[in-house]
């Protein structure tokens, strides 16, 4: 089925460009600069707050049912931070965000300046001893001095991986949540083409992976009437995988709950009604763990009605995350559909 509003080809370009950029939590400068180039021509105002959130504002035409809407997608990705450099030039690291040691062994990583490394492991007597503190990064330095010429304690690295197409699917690093960032930019393209009642604040947030930090301060500044996070979610459609409702290719996932949020029933219903009325493929998301920016946003000030749209994604927090572009397009379609209509007062 063709997308209602999303230009799927353009969306794919955005996902690819964003996913391949560098930007672990707390070190989002490169990805922020890239996204900023895309949103500057689409926004009425662009700003960066004290924590580094990129906030792009698109003014609405107002009228009855016009609200202050915050859309949030996090631009940070998981990464590794150097904590120690030894005499032989090997780097020890701390995880930035959630990492499984088994995923890390043998991976290629890259630092902001392009310095490449691989992840090695100490000799283990038992695979059960595989823990993060038994791993190290090898940047090919002959000794400490050579290593310190290229990295420092505090330098951050991310997976080195290109985005590859596999049918209608894309696989690569950081689809969590650069695919959500791509959704927001594509939505902004529509808001520019056709004005909607609402003032829309598109927030490309920082430090989601380390505890939903950026969205919290951005939401305080914006004080929205309604907020929607756009993020990825787990899927339950792989061999002997988790028992989860979400599947690739079955549409955008309307969040019911995760560990950070119970979606506001009014927001959830708004999304379900709009998807049904316009034939946009959707599925319900109940995630028994994890969280998104909506979890931080809904507790801001005196509370914000919030929900989330998620893109089902396999192999999360690995360099081989996989999603279906049709789900990304459906997410754009549903957001644009909802934003085009006046919204009732959630308190009424």
């Amino acid at each position: 089925m063709a997308a209602l509003y999303a230009d799927v080809q353009h969306l794919e370009q955005l996902v690819r460009a964003f996913a391949q950029a560098f930007g672990p939590s707390g070190h989002e400068d490169p990805i922020r600069a890239l996204i900023r180039r895309y949103v500057e021509p689409l926004a009425d105002q662009v700003s960066v707050d004290a924590l580094g959130n990129l906030i792009a504002f698109v003014r609405g035409r107002g009228g009855p049912g016009a609200r202050r809407v915050m859309l949030a997608a996090h631009m940070d990705e998981i990464g590794l931070m150097v904590t120690h450099i030894d005499d032989k030039g090997f780097l020890r690291f701390a995880p930035i965000g959630g990492h499984g040691p088994a995923t890390l062994v043998g991976q290629r990583v890259v630092f902001a300046d392009g310095t490449a490394g691989v992840i090695g492991v100490e000799k283990l007597d038992d695979v059960k001893d595989l823990k993060l503190d038994r791993l190290f990064i090898d940047i090919g330095a002959e000794d400490r001095a050579a290593a310190e010429g290229r990295v420092q304690v505090g330098s951050a690295a991310v997976f080195a991986r290109e985005v590859t197409a596999a049918g209608s699917r894309l696989t690569g690093k950081a689809l969590d949540d650069r695919s959500g960032c791509a959704v927001l930019v594509e939505v902004m393209r529509h808001l520019r083409a056709e004005s909607v009642p609402h003032d829309v604040y598109c927030v490309f947030s920082v430090q989601e992976e380390v505890g939903l930090r950026g969205a919290r301060t951005a939401a305080y500044a914006i004080a929205p009437d309604l907020a929607l996070a756009v993020d990825v979610t787990a899927s339950g459609d792989t061999p002997k995988g988790e028992t989860l409702n979400m599947q690739l290719g079955k549409g955008t996932a309307i969040k019911v709950k995760d560990n950070s949020l119970i979606a506001h029933p009014w927001v959830r219903q708004l999304l379900v009604d709009a998807a049904r009325a316009h034939g946009i493929p959707y599925q319900m998301e109940v995630l028994p763990y994890g969280g998104t920016d909506a979890g931080a946003i809904h507790l801001t000030r005196s509370g914000v009605p919030a929900g989330a749209l998620s893109i089902p994604t396999r192999y999360l927090h690995t360099p081989a995350e996989m999603l279906d572009l049709r789900d990304v397009a459906a997410t754009v379609d549903l957001l644009v559909t909802v934003l085009r209509q006046p919204l009732p007062d959630p308190a009424a």
Binding site: S25, G26, H27, D29, S47, V48, D49, A50, L51, G52, N53, M81, T83, H84, D86, R92, A94, P95, I96, D133, Q152, V153, G154, Q207, V210, G211, R213, G214, R216, T217, A218, Y220, A221
Partner: protein, 346 residues
């Protein structure tokens, strides 16, 4: 030095009044004003109406300790920990109980009376009692009530060449540094904040930062130092004598890069030795300050302290002095650092 006094005052999380009173006495003539907020934070300021970035320096007054939960018929006190303490360090320590500082000892059966395998396991807090020498519940209740705070009875002392030992260096070293730094004058509004309840979840700093609404914040801490046998080099957070430790990441905060770079530059340009804090565990008040309102750029600088969160820590006076010099240098550089922060947002 004021660290000696501050170290010996009891001030477990939620019971910071005596520490606060001593600090206020020391800083009242150095600042333009001060107030105690509803949670008990002491917020002081200098040049509040000056132009320029509003800078908040924070150090927490509270320390880890214990609280009496129940008094047994035998007159022995059951307790729970307040803040993170390793159960292994509790047994057989001298403590002071309640506002009157009733002397007590954390009791443990002597080794002669243990069964074979018992001696091989650490004793959990639930199996330990505080003995204040009372023979019955009635006798104990005359001097202690459930809810009474318990702190370690450790006297401050000098050790070796330029080292000191004592309790509560986490974070009375930060408080002592802040007291000294408030003697200096700067051309911008400076808020010196002595916080409560850091050890149980960075609580005081959260509301204090909301009140102050700073443009940038620096947290002064005592941090772990594990340059001791049995620790792999890459597990050693800091080294004693290596100078102030600058945090690159912990469990609650990724410091703002312009502030981290500002600290490194302030040290390098003045020839002050410094080190990275080379682990990413734990948290400081910066973890709650940076998330206040619409966000606050923040960083943490710490004095390395061996054996923190135990009855007795060891610290180098040279590290303490170098930390004071580093923070003073950072404050001199604030205009430059604020310009870097602004450039990053443009």
């Amino acid at each position: 030095m004021i660290l000696r006094e501050l170290s010996e005052i009891p001030g477990v999380s939620g019971d910071e009044a005596r520490v606060r009173a001593r600090i206020w006495e020391a800083v009242r003539d150095r600042v333009d004003g001060g107030r105690v907020d509803p949670m008990g934070n002491l917020i002081t300021w200098k040049g509040a109406n000056r132009p320029g970035p509003k800078v908040m320096l924070a150090a927490h007054m509270d320390e880890v300790g214990l609280m009496v939960t129940r008094i047994g018929d035998d007159g022995l006190l059951r307790f729970r920990k307040v803040g993170g303490i390793d159960d292994r360090v509790l047994a057989a320590k001298a403590v002071r109980v309640g506002p009157d500082g009733v002397p007590g000892v954390i009791g443990l059966r002597p080794i002669h009376l243990l069964k074979d395998d018992e001696a091989k396991k650490p004793v959990s807090e639930q199996d330990l009692v505080i003995d204040i020498g009372a023979a019955s519940k009635e006798e104990a209740e005359r001097v202690v009530r459930p809810g009474a705070y318990v702190s370690f009875a450790t006297s401050f002392g000098e050790l070796g060449d330029g080292l000191v030992k004592g309790k509560a260096f986490d974070d009375r070293v930060g408080c002592a540094l802040l007291v000294e730094l408030l003697a200096l004058d700067f051309p911008f509004p400076l808020f010196g904040v002595f916080t409560v309840q850091e050890e149980i979840g960075l609580r005081g700093a959260r509301v204090a930062a909301y009140e102050v609404a700073p443009d940038l914040a620096l947290v002064l801490e005592g941090t772990s130092c594990a340059d001791i046998p049995g620790t792999e080099p890459h597990g050693q957070s800091t080294v004693l004598g290596g100078g102030p430790a600058i945090t690159v990441m912990d469990a609650h905060h990724i410091p703002a890069r312009p502030l981290v770079e500002g600290l490194v530059a302030a040290a390098s340009e003045r020839g002050i030795p410094w080190q990275w804090r080379r682990t990413a565990f734990g948290g400081t008040d910066a973890g709650s300050i940076h998330l206040t309102r619409s966000g606050v750029p923040a960083a943490t600088v710490s004095v390395p302290c061996r054996y923190i969160h135990s009855p007795c820590a060891v610290m180098s006076l040279q590290d303490f002095d170098n930390t004071r010099r580093l923070v003073a240098g950072f404050l001199e550089d604030v205009p430059r650092i604020a310009a870097r922060l602004a450039a990053g947002r443009a």
